[in-house]
């Protein structure tokens, strides 16, 4: 299972996790570092090791802001945010595993909240 899952994550992300030299710059520059259980460099390392189920059930998946700071600042072109995205998609694609339901939305609205926030959250959190 974990081999197939790893293969899926690698194909979906397009990332070559073997290029990582463990410098930690991705996590050092991540604006969500404090909120994460597993940090960007750990996503890369754990996917390389095939240790993916822990990532699949972690709230860290929903803390990534997709700001691409780690993508631009990685000196090796590993693009960690794309690895996080691939794991998050693998998680929310499982039946009943959406992180956000349409019925949650009314409670989150205020008069100024831009539509952009809602469509982005749905794109990130659901399938």
């Amino acid at each position: 299972m974990s081999d197939k899952l790893k293969e899926q994550i690698l194909r979906s992300s397009g990332s070559n996790v073997l290029k990582c030299m463990r410098c930690g710059k991705c996590s050092a520059t991540c604006p969500s570092y404090d909120e994460m259980e597993y940090h960007p460099h750990q996503f890369v390392y754990m996917v390389e090791k095939g240790d993916i189920e822990k990532l699949m059930s972690s709230e860290s998946l929903y803390k990534c802001l997709t700001c691409f700071a780690c993508v631009d600042r990685c000196p090796r072109g590993v693009e960690p945010a794309k690895v996080v995205e691939a794991v998050r998609l693998a998680a929310v694609r499982r039946q009943g595993n959406n992180h956000l339901a349409p019925t949650d939305i009314p409670g989150m609205l205020d008069d100024d909240l831009p539509q952009q926030a809602i469509v982005t959250a749905f794109r990130k959190y659901t399938k």
Partner: protein, 269 residues
């Protein structure tokens, strides 16, 4: 330059609803600067975020449709919302390099003329810099915003990933500062100008959004700014509602319209 001064203009969902000022001032200013913006019919929401995953195709199609609408009109495409711009430019970048993605997209859409990234995409700021020119903009200013110290907030989406966005140096950008100079004001450089405001996390984690947006606003204030400008409706929301800062935040197009003498005093929100 394509087709003289006519561009296909994609407003996106939020500019029709919560960010009407961003849109209205962009259109009025373009007209004053001799640029015609033509909105494609029946455009769709871009989705707000680009899905980087290679095995996602359907989520990329609305951006492809917008790019194709511009190509089929023979125009370059102009966007103004940072998020739309990011989604559309990343889609365009990937489809021009990833043959597998291009093949799947074109098979799925059954396009007579396959789309492979032919459209040129400009952010409105790039239109000002690369098509009109900041020197020409400066000459068109009738009401220079003298004495105002303005902090440009780039956030994440305008600049990154820099390979696809190709707008400016992602770590030391100047396009918004040059814009601020062109409208007669003084730019304020501060550390957090290209760090994320928290974005859509405001939906489910207000504390994180507050932390991020307060960090941006405090950084701008510490460097002596008296206002912040942005191109992104979600940044504006976070910086205004979640930061706890009193510093005003405006869309850059509002200041552009003001400098061009187009801002009416009695506009409703």
């Amino acid at each position: 330059m394509e087709n003289n001064a006519v561009f296909t203009y994609y407003p996106g969902c939020t500019l029709r609803t919560k960010a009407k000022d961003l849109d209205a001032y962009a259109r009025a200013s373009a007209e004053a600067l001799g640029i015609t913006l033509v909105e494609p019919e029946n455009w769709q929401c871009c989705g707000g975020a680009y899905t980087t995953a290679k095995d996602e195709i359907a989520t990329k199609l609305s951006a492809v449709r917008t790019l194709m609408a511009a190509r089929d009109s023979g125009n370059a495409l102009v966007t103004v919302c940072s998020a739309c711009h990011n989604v559309i430019k990343q889609t365009n970048y990937d489809i021009s390099r990833d043959e597998d993605m291009a093949r799947k997209v074109n098979s799925y859409m059954q396009n007579d003329a396959p789309y492979t990234g032919e459209t040129t995409v400009y952010h409105y700021l790039e239109l000002l810099r690369d098509v009109i020119g900041f020197d020409k903009l400066k000459a068109a200013v009738v009401n220079p915003l003298k004495g105002r110290k303005i902090a440009a907030y780039y956030g994440c989406l305008l600049l990154r990933p820099s390979k696809a966005l190709a707008m400016d140096d992602p770590e030391n950008p100047t396009i918004m500062e040059d814009f601020i100079r062109a409208i007669g004001a003084e730019p304020v450089i501060y550390a957090q100008r290209n760090e994320c405001c928290g974005g859509y996390i405001t939906m489910e984690d207000k504390a994180q959004a507050s932390k991020r947006s307060a960090s941006v606003m405090d950084s701008a204030k510490d460097m002596g700014a008296d206002m912040v400008i942005t191109a992104c409706p979600l940044c504006l929301y976070n910086l205004k509602k979640n930061s706890g800062s009193e510093l005003p935040v405006y869309y850059f197009t509002e200041l552009l319209a003001e400098a061009l003498g187009l801002k009416k005093e009695d506009t409703d929100e």
